[in-house]
């Protein structure tokens, strides 16, 4: 369990994290979501005691992480796959970390095998692809078999097979009763991986709830209707109380209808002899919910004066 209370971090005049409070519970995969520069990595570093908060506190299983003399058995973390020395082999890198925590050398072989790097164990890390470095970072996190695991943008640079493998791994770690906390700026990644979400923007909490609840925040599910008689249909549906927005490029004649279910739309079209060529319910996407919620809090937005 990770508990963060009123956590604040200021660098000079810039506030990276502002009064953040949330709890990450065991047995679930919790996604930590926010646009670039939202303060996710800073928060993770404060949880790990690498940076001292300006205010507030973070605890892991009830105690500040830095109260442990050795960390790997308490929290496994992948902060940045590049945080390795390229001149060392994967085995040497992990052996040094294992030894510092009194973990047996056998465990190094086990975790390398688990992340699929057994073949590359004796190779220097400088020759690794980003995906391989991510796997090595996961191996580092697993080394101490810890009850709490944190991953910062773990799927960056992974191929599709690697992404699937990671999702299964996160799920399995959570099923084993561990606390799994992973950050991403990609909502779509969380849709398939996380149970719970902590969403932040500009260092502030935007939401902390289940993925399903979060998706339901999206303005409305909506129905996509395709027809060649768009103007007529718009008039009919608007009269019936729906709101209608044209969608797509000119000529495709698609409308996004909110406020009416599909069967009512179909019935109205039938009554008015309007031919429909498409009628699709659009599921609320996490991506939309995310975009809507964080629209005000995107740190670096293209093409807009700040």
């Amino acid at each position: 369990m990770i508990e963060v209370q009123e956590l604040t971090k200021r660098y000079g005049g810039r506030t990276a994290v502002a009064g953040l409070s949330f709890t990450v519970r065991p047995g679930q995969v919790t996604g930590f979501l926010g646009p670039n520069g939202a303060g996710k990595s800073t928060t993770l570093r404060m949880i790990l005691g690498l940076e001292a908060p300006t205010g507030g506190a973070a605890t892991v299983n009830g105690v500040p992480f830095r109260s442990h003399a050795r960390g790997l058995r308490h929290v496994g973390a992948l902060l940045d796959a590049g945080q390795v020395h390229g001149g060392r082999t994967a085995t040497a890198h992990l052996s040094a970390l294992a030894r510092s925590n009194g973990i047996s050398a056998r465990r190094v072989g086990e975790v390398l095998h688990e992340v699929g790097l057994a073949e590359a164990a004796g190779r220097r890390i400088s020759g690794f692809s980003l995906g391989m470095k991510q796997r090595l970072g996961v191996a580092t996190a697993l080394l101490g078999d810890p009850p709490v695991l944190m991953f910062d943008e773990p799927v960056n640079g992974m191929d599709p097979e690697g992404v699937l493998w990671m999702r299964r791994l996160f799920r399995r770690l959570a099923t084993e009763g561990r606390t799994v906390f992973l950050s991403s700026h990609l909502m779509s990644e969380m849709e398939n991986t996380a149970d719970q979400l902590v969403v932040i923007g500009r260092g502030r909490l935007i939401a902390a709830e289940s993925v399903r609840e979060f998706a339901a925040r999206s303005t409305s599910p909506g129905v996509v209707v395709g027809t060649r008689q768009a103007a007529e249909l718009t008039a009919v549906l608007t009269a019936a109380g729906a709101s209608v927005e044209p969608e797509g490029s000119a000529g495709t004649e698609k409308l996004v209808v909110t406020g009416l279910p599909t069967d009512r739309i179909a019935a109205l079209a039938f009554e008015h002899r309007i031919l429909l060529n498409e009628l699709t319910t659009r599921a609320a996407s996490l991506e939309e919910a995310f975009m809507e919620l964080t629209a005000d809090s995107v740190e670096y937005q293209a093409g807009q004066p700040r």
Binding site: E3, Q5, S21, F22, T23, V24, R25, P26, G27, Q28, T30, R45, L48, G49, L50, E51, A52, R66, H68, A69, R70, G71, L72, R73, H74, V75, A77, L79, D80, G82, Q83, V84, H85, G86, G87, R88, T89, A92, H93, S95, A96, L97, R99, S100, N101, G102, T140, G144, D145, P146, P147, E176, G177, R178, T179, Q196, V198, L205, A208, E209
Partner: protein, 277 residues
């Protein structure tokens, strides 16, 4: 505080039975890091051969060989070019062990694995001290033996048991760890690669040459420097009482040897615990 939905009953979330945190595991860990870098053995072999080679060159080119008392010639073994290079290399390598972790970000991985940061710095210091004492001892013994082998041709060699040999030998052997630890401490304080390398080279090599022994205050500053202390410690003759210069005392020189690395490492341990990484 915002809370998420309650968790299901968990099965295995307790940490493994944890063995006690042992300092010697940290030393072993730092040793794995040091020996697993391909550059380490190369640099050590290179600098050892360079020191020994420069002693051979200095002795060969000593025209006075054979015309002076034998004990004086112990000095030939400890030539400045060789040992000034040793100062530069040991200082830089001591710094590099820390700076490379900061520049790659590995330091975060290290300190997340071992939150006891002061102990990490101390373990690095122990490995650095032992490694460079070994290198310094091989280099000092080697340069002494090689120069005496050359002097034997003039019938001017002294045995290693000669009373004037021990102090220069020990001072030369310890020069490397003293400089390596100073570099290590500076690296923790400065963190940036270029700044650390320049500061280390400047403090260890350039700064002492700014101050002569011609007047009191200047000599006082010079006598706080490592390379000046080494120069005095390898001199087997007493300073000329009629000389205008101010000579450093031998205990003062040993104190300089002790204070630089101790101060640098102590500051590093204090600072690393307080600073964000």
């Amino acid at each position: 505080m915002t809370t998420l939905a309650t968790a299901p009953a968990t099965s295995s979330a307790a940490p493994l039975a944890e063995p006690p945190a042992r300092f010697r595991d940290l030393i072993a860990s730092e040793w794995i890091k040091t020996r697993s870098l391909r550059s380490t053995p190369w640099v050590l072999v290179f600098i050892t051969l360079f020191v020994i080679g420069s002693a051979a060159v200095a002795t060969f080119s000593d025209r006075a060989a054979g015309s002076e008392p034998g004990s004086f010639l112990a000095y030939d073994a400890f030539s400045s070019p060789g040992y000034l290079t040793l100062i530069l290399v040991a200082g830089s390598m001591g710094a590099l062990g820390v700076v490379s972790e900061y520049s790659s970000g590995l330091i975060r991985t290290t300190l997340a694995a071992v939150p006891a940061r002061g102990a990490v710095v101390l373990a690095k210091a122990v490995v650095t001290a032992v490694l460079w004492t070994a290198v310094g001892t091989v280099a000092a013994l080697g340069s002494f033996l090689v120069s005496q082998a050359v002097l034997r041709g003039h019938g001017a060699d002294v045995p290693i048991t000669h009373p004037d040999v021990l102090r220069p030998l020990v001072a030369s052997a310890l020069l490397a760890p003293v400089c390596a630890l100073t570099g290590l401490g500076l690296a923790v304080l400065l963190r940036h690669a270029a700044a650390t390398m320049l500061t280390s080279a400047f403090a260890l090599l350039m700064l002492p040459t700014m101050f002569s022994e011609g007047n009191r205050w200047s000599a006082d500053i010079r006598h706080t420097m490592i390379s000046a202390a080494w120069t005095r410690l390898v001199q087997t003759w007493e300073p000329d009482p009629g000389s205008l210069g101010y000579a450093a005392t031998l205990p003062g020189c040993w104190l300089v040897y002790a204070l630089w690395p101790l101060t640098a490492v102590a500051l590093a341990v204090l600072v690393v615990r307080r600073r964000d990484v």
